[in-house]
Every structure is written in structure tokens, then in C-alpha cells.
């Protein structure tokens, strides 16, 4: 597992596009102590390593797909009404450098 320290946590936060205060990183370090020790305990539960990972609460397999029929799209003004910076019917951002 990746080393958990302030730097790796800060990197993880920045990859999620936000930053936190020093105090919060310390707080988070303490929380990770709790989590990692709890997860280590879980690792010791008999049979856990052989269990199949569960995504859905029970077997939810379905056979239904959506028919390929187009419906009326949103009115452009409605679609964009929540965007803060709109120019010529498009959302504006500072230039995206590729």
C-alpha cells in the first residue's frame, strides 16, 4: 500500500482538485490510522481474501436495455442556465492548454 503521510495525502487531495489546511491533513492522518488499523483487522477475518468482491447488494442482473429512440433535447437556455459564464450558447472557460 502507498505510504500514508502528509505529502501523499496532499497529492491525493490535489488530484481531486482541492486543497486543505495543514490542520486538516493532520486530522486526516489520524483518521487514516483508525481506518488502516480497522482494515487490517478485516484482513484477518477468516475467508475474507477468498470472498468475491460485492458491488451490488444482491443479484440485480437484468436483461433490459434502452431502445435507441431520441427524445426532445433540453432547451439551450434551460440547459445552460446554471453555468456561470456562457458565450454564444457555449460555456466559457479560461483557454484549455492541451
Amino acid at each position: 500500500m502507498k505510504n500514508i503521510n502528509k505529502e501523499t495525502l496532499k497529492m491525493a487531495a490535489n488530484k481531486l482538485m482541492f486543497d486543505m489546511s495543514e490542520e486538516q491533513y493532520n486530522h486526516l492522518l489520524n483518521e487514516f490510522d483508525v481506518i488502516v488499523s480497522q482494515m487490517n483487522l478485516i484482513g484477518k477475518i477468516e475467508g475474507v481474501d477468498n470472498a468475491t468482491p460485492m458491488t451490488f447488494p444482491f443479484d440485480v442482473t437484468s436483461t433490459k436495455l434502452r431502445e435507441d429512440v431520441a427524445t426532445t433535447p433540453l432547451d439551450r437556455d434551460v440547459a445552460l442556465r446554471n453555468a456561470k459564464d456562457v458565450v454564444d450558447g457555449q460555456i466559457r472557460l479560461p483557454r484549455v492548454v492541451k
Binding site: A12, F18, M20, V34, L41, M54, P57, R66, A79, L93
Partner: protein, 485 residues
């Protein structure tokens, strides 16, 4: 005459007899909402509600919800009504569509009068972390106790007698825990039973539409209105919808109920245990078999950490759309990265950010096996263990909280080992997608506490009939926190 502190049936009868009109009900609810001092509301939709009353469809008068004011947790998309999920990042967001659950309520004649406060993005259990601050427990007039979360505003609005029905959402116990603290019936159905379309996701595989009512019958009735497949939700079930009220009085003769030993053992509060025992004795007297059943204590202890890892992991992805570009409270910057960075740094509270880091860290390539995948494996073990109990028993029954509502001071939503089982076990209901209901069973120092009943997937009818019997035994229903109590 007040009506908003009554049950659906009582209000409906008054409407039918012409004692009161929908408009008067809406006015009563809005007046009360305006006077609320528990921080229950994000937004009171007075204008919209008064418009909606005018448009009520008379042909729908048989519906118990017809003309009845309701409130909606602020994580349901409501068309043209501001929706923030109590997060600053969504300040100013006005959705362009309504959640399926809201649409079904409105079709049944309900009138939405307000959006309620919640823990920010539903990621908390105390009702203290929303952007409007602490939501108080109406049962405690000194305003020193939490009402619980994350559906805090909905619980507070119910307990204050402002509306008879409130929509909440339940990812770990976010409806069922506050119900315990506020003397309400709190219910979440089988995963996939009610469409999640329009519910802001916290942790998709654990998220459930849930709600509060004043009694078990209203809860069953409401499921009739909300349940059923929705093409817009690819996890919603095709199973047919029953009339969930039809078996409500069938009693508990020959029904088998399991009490989980490790959970009971983790509870120390004697008043809670005494009331719980009393309700068990009543169930036995009515013909039910009640056994204490063991589940590996390590599995019970693992429920919470498993829940934390899975829910935080899914949450960090689910909320990645909140970047200020398409909607929400954008904060400008020199580049798109800066726009996202500024928006998200300012928009989320420290608690939320910590949870996102936990979730993201769990999903990283080099950590996934030991954190996220291990949690998913443990989820399987936990669900298998409870499924095994359901092979022999109709229901699992335990106290819904280890005590009455805690004091605000000291409840912080920081992750800790304290009350590891008793305070967090109800998340097994989300992991297994089981239908689950909390209902009041007693009081301590005038503060309520409840018990929780859980059945196997799609066994809601059975759940309501057993819960109804428990309610008969306690006589605790249609409760509202009284002024000056």
C-alpha cells in the same frame, strides 16, 4: 385546529369531510415552517406550493396524499426549486428536472412546501455538517441535542409537526437513525424498489430513497406510491409492486424474529435495553418466536470500516461532477484547473474533503486491493452472514441507536472506534439492500429512542406487518415534540 401534526389517514378524513381544505393545510404547514427554529429548512417554496394547490387534480381525491403538504430533503432534484444538498458548492443551483420520487409524490397529490437541511452531500450522521449549520432536535427545547443525520431537516420538520410526510435518503442509516432520535417511523425499502433518478448520489450501491412518517401504516401506504420500476434508473427493479398495506394487520403468529447478540451486547443504556425487551416480550405474547442469534463479532465490527471505505470511494467519484463548470458555485481562475481547484476548495467543507481523500486513496491502484476491494469482499462476508440469518428468520430486530440523541457538543462525525457496532450496524441494511424500518419504542428523560426491524430483499409486506405489531405493543405512534416539553 391543527392538522399537520397528525397522520395521513387523520388528515385525509378531515379533507374528505370538508373540515379543512388543501389550501388551509398548505398555509398551516408554511406558517409553521416559517416559525421553525431548529434549522430544518434550506428553502421554503411558498409561491410554488400555493400554485400547486390551485392545480390539484380533483379526480385524485382518494389518494391519502391528495392535498397533503410534504417536505423533501435537499438532495432531491426539484425542477425550478433551488437544490444545494446543504453544500456551498451547489449554492445557486436550480435543477432543470425533478427526481422520480418527487414526481410520484406530486402525482399522488402531495404538495412540496419546503426543501430540508441535511449533512453536507448526505455524508454525515449528525445533522451538524450542512452549510447552514447544526439542525436541532425538536424534542430537546434547550437545543443541546442533535436530531441525527443526514436527513436532519426532514426529521426535525416531522418532529415539529410541520408536515406528516418527509422524504429523506438512507445510505448508512440516514433516515433510520434520526427516526430513532425523533420518535418517527423511518423507512428505506429494498435497493432498487424506488427509483433513485434525481437523488443526488452519495454512494450509489448503498443509496436508498427513504422517508419519515408518523406511523407504520403511513409508511406502507407511501411505498405503494413510490415503488416500481423506472426506465431512467438502470438499477431499479422490475419486480411487481404489491399493496404493502394489505397484510399490515396479519399479526406475528409463527413469525420468526432474530435479535443479534453482538449488537445487543454492545449497548449499555439500561432504559433502551428495557424498552427493547418489553417489545420483544410483547411480540412473543402475540405468537412470534424471538431468538438471540450470533453473528461473528469481527464481522459486526467490520460493518463500519467497510461502509466508510465503500461509501467514501463511491462518493468521491459521484461528486466529481461538482467542478463549477456546468452548474454550481464556480469560482474563477486563470486556467480550467484553477477554476476547478478554487471551486472545490471553497465549495466543500473540510469533513467532505477528508472523506473524498479517504475514498480516492482507497481506489488508487496500489491501495485498491487492501482497501476498496477488501471492503467489497468484506461486504460480501457481512451480507452472507445476514442472509444466513434470513434463511431461518423473517426479520432481524435490534435497537436503532445505543441511546437517546447525543449532545451536540462532542458529536463531530470524526471517524472513531467508539460505539463501533451499536452506532453503526444499521449499514448492513444498505450493504444487503434489505428493507428496513425504525420505529419508536421508548423515552428517556423525555427524549425518544427507537428500534430497527429489517427483512430480506422485497419482503416489505412482511416488514410492515411485524412493525405494525410492534407499534401496537408500544402504542407509540403519531408523536410530535410538544411545545415546552
Amino acid at each position: 385546529m391543527e392538522y399537520m401534526n397528525k397522520s395521513l389517514t387523520q388528515i385525509h378524513n378531515a379533507l374528505i369531510k370538508g373540515e379543512v381544505t388543501p389550501l388551509e393545510l398548505v398555509k398551516e404547514a408554511i406558517e409553521k415552517a416559517k416559525k421553525d427554529d431548529n434549522n430544518a429548512f434550506e428553502y421554503i417554496c411558498e409561491k410554488e406550493a400555493l400554485e400547486a394547490v390551485k392545480k390539484l387534480d380533483e379526480s385524485n381525491k382518494d389518494s391519502l396524499l391528495w392535498g397533503v403538504p410534504v417536505v423533501i430533503k435537499d438532495n432531491y432534484s426539484t425542477k425550478d426549486i433551488p437544490t444545494t444538498a446543504s453544500s456551498n458548492i451547489l449554492n445557486g443551483y436550480v435543477p432543470v428536472f425533478s427526481a422520480e420520487a418527487v414526481i410520484r409524490l406530486e402525482k399522488a397529490g402531495a404538495i412540496v412546501i419546503a426543501k430540508t437541511t441535511m449533512d453536507e452531500l448526505a455524508m454525515g450522521g449528525s445533522g451538524t455538517t450542512g452549510h447552514l449549520g447544526v439542525t436541532y432536535n425538536p424534542w430537546d427545547k434547550s437545543k443541546t441535542r442533535i436530531v441525527g443525520g443526514s436527513s436532519c431537516g426532514s426529521a426535525a420538520a416531522m418532529a415539529s409537526g410541520i408536515v406528516p410526510i418527509a422524504l429523506g435518503s438512507d445510505t448508512g442509516d440516514s433516515v433510520r437513525k434520526p427516526a430513532s432520535y425523533a420518535a418517527l417511523v423511518g423507512f428505506k425499502p429494498t435497493w432498487g424498489r424506488i427509483s433513485r433518478f434525481g437523488l443526488f448520489p452519495f454512494a450509489t450501491s448503498l443509496d436508498h430513497v427513504g422517508y419519515f412518517s408518523r406511523n407504520v401504516y403511513d409508511s406502507a401506504y407511501l411505498l405503494n406510491v413510490l415503488a416500481g420500476h423506472d426506465d431512467k434508473d438502470f438499477s431499479s427493479s422490475f419486480k411487481e409492486v404489491n399493496d404493502y398495506t394489505s397484510k399490515i394487520n396479519e399479526g406475528v403468529i409463527n413469525k420468526r424474529i432474530a435479535v443479534i447478540k453482538g449488537i445487543i451486547d454492545s449497548i449499555k443504556d439500561k432504559t433502551v435495553l428495557a424498552s427493547f425487551d418489553e417489545s420483544i416480550n410483547y411480540l412473543k405474547k402475540q405468537g412470534a418466536t424471538v431468538d438471540v442469534v450470533e453473528i461473528d463479532i469481527n464481522l459486526l465490527k467490520s460493518i463500519f470500516p467497510t461502509y466508510v471505505i465503500i461509501s467514501c470511494a463511491e462518493a468521491t467519484s459521484n461528486n466529481a461532477n461538482l467542478d463549477g463548470i456546468k452548474f454550481g458555485n464556480r469560482i474563477e481562475g486563470e486556467s480550467f484547473e484553477e477554476v476547478m481547484m478554487n471551486t472545490r476548495t471553497n465549495g466543500f467543507s473540510p469533513l467532505i474533503k477528508r472523506r473524498f481523500v479517504i475514498g480516492s486513496f482507497s481506489l488508487m491502484r496500489e491501495n485498491q486491493d487492501e482497501l476498496f476491494v477488501r471492503a467489497q469482499k468484506c461486504r460480501r462476508m457481512i451480507v452472507d452472514a445476514f442472509n444466513k440469518v434470513f434463511e431461518k428468520y423473517d426479520a432481524i430486530y435490534c435497537p436503532a441507536s445505543p441511546s437517546i440523541a447525543p449532545l451536540i457538543k462532542g458529536s463531530s462525525d470524526t471517524l472513531s472506534d467508539e460505539y463501533l457496532i451499536a452506532d453503526n450496524y444499521m449499514a448492513f441494511g444498505n450493504m444487503g439492500g434489505y428493507p428496513s424500518i425504525t420505529l419508536p419504542i421508548g423515552f428517556e428523560n423525555n427524549m425518544p429512542f427507537g428500534a430497527n426491524l429489517t427483512c430480506k430483499p422485497f419482503d416489505e409486506a412482511n416488514l410492515f406487518s411485524i412493525a405494525n405489531e410492534i407499534e401496537k405493543g408500544t402504542g407509540l405512534k403519531d408523536l410530535v415534540a410538544k411545545e415546552g416539553r
